[in-house]
Amino acid sequence: MALTPDELAAVVARDIPAGSYVNLGIGQPTKVADHLPEGSGVVLHTENGMLNMGPAAQGDHIDPDLTNAGKVPVTELPGASYFHHADSFAMMRGGHLDVCVLGAFQVSATGDLANWHTGAPDAIPAVGGAMDLAIGAKQTFVMMRLFDKQGRAKLVPECTYPLTGVGCVSRVYTDVAVFDVGPRGVFVRETFGIGLDELGTRLDMPLTELPADDDRRSRGRRRTGPESVVA
């Protein structure tokens, strides 16, 4: 069975090593926070100037001076810190965050990301922090449905939408499969209710199944941070 968005968020959360510093993009990726295990010690970064952000604020706890990157009121956890925008993006661009989880319109087999612009001629261009986030963290994960409403694959040999970053994505979490992408090609880490053959047919690219003992199962391409807690 294909995963629901919540189930997918849980799969991503499972793969985030304990103690990681993580930026969760706007939209779907925000859900990952709800599935991080108690005591995981994962520290959330919001690029508008904060580390150790807590859950969304409710009721009387809403403070207009404390929001996340989506301008949603949030809370502060003990051990939080605030910093200005240049320092916040220096933290990101300098490679100090372990994982960034982003949504995507398309990801290419080599890890190119397209998630800021559909290229529609009447769209008002708006990039926000997407390009900084795409290339900044030690690992960039993408969370998306594998096929769009028309059934077209969003994991593609080459992106047709304008790029957000080149070769920046290391792993793609989708409702039907998890992939490692990069210069060596596309590896299937796990599937949800779909066979490798069917996947291969529907995706226009060569796929390799990762053997169960492959160290890529637990370590990402650019990981240099804390050890993974997943087997």
């Binding site: 929001t67 301008k71 605030y82 993006f89 261009p125 926000g128 390009m131």
Partner: protein, 231 residues
């Protein structure tokens, strides 16, 4: 640049801003937006302005009100398109305002460079994307970069939490955002604060914007808004 002056009214604080000025406007969405200074700028009447800010206004307050008043020639920002940015959207689609989209981290770093006397810097963000088109690129130590130039302001309008009599500033939570870098990047920095305290009352270890960057200060009553929908 000069000794900070504490002014009685918002109108004094924004006096002398000339037509055609580049105005840096703090805030991330509504958090840290200097609403009173923008209202003062609308009354003051300067036109043909270039506005540098993260967003391009929400609803009909703040930057949106300035845009609606027809004073803005060009917006340099990272994310103009928000759920409630209809004022900007209409002006843009009507060809009445120019737009330069800059990745959020590059925007912050270009402002910092202006304040720090850096002539230009090689930045990894946006490499290989449409936002790098026409920019000088270089490979350094195996990584690709684009050359980014400083963004200087004639005036910065920012909002801070508290100022002392010399002009030292502290901010509140994520309302800090662009204020500290914009204060360094403008010829004249104008600050609206919620509270004025005697010189000596701020902890010297916790000052975020040192007095040297502040030119004019005016105390205003707090006005807060929240917004949802986009970065």
């Amino acid at each position: 640049m000069s000794r900070a002056r504490i002014l009685d009214t918002v109108d004094e604080a924004v006096s002398g801003i000339e037509d055609g000025s580049t105005v840096l406007v703090g805030g991330f969405g509504m958090a840290g937006m200097p609403f009173d200074l923008i209202d003062g700028l609308i009354r003051q009447g300067a036109k043909d302005l270039t506005i540098v800010s993260n967003n391009a206004g929400n609803g009909e307050v703040g930057l949106a009100a300035l845009l609606k008043a027809g004073r803005v020639r060009k917006v340099i920002c990272s994310f103009p398109r928000q759920s409630d940015s209809y004022v900007f959207d209409e002006l843009y689609r009507a060809g009445k305002v120019e737009l330069e989209v800059v990745p959020q981290g590059s925007l912050a770093e270009r402002l910092r460079a202006a304040g720090a006397g850096i002539g230009a810097f090689f930045c990894p963000t946006a490499v290989g994307t449409p936002l790098a088109e026409g920019k000088e690129t270089r490979t350094i130590d195996g990584r690709d970069y684009v050359l980014e130039y400083p963004i200087k302001g004639d005036v910065a309008l920012i909002s801070a939490h508290r100022a002392d009599g010399m002009g030292n500033l502290v901010y509140r939570k994520t309302a800090r955002n662009f204020g500290p870098v914009m204060a360094t990047a403008a010829t004249t920095t104008v600050v609206q604060v919620g509270e004025l305290v005697p010189t000596g009352d701020l902890d010297p270890e916790a000052v975020v914007t040192p007095s040297v960057y502040v030119d004019r200060i005016v105390r205003v009553e707090a006005r807060h808004y929240t917004v949802q929908g986009a970065r």
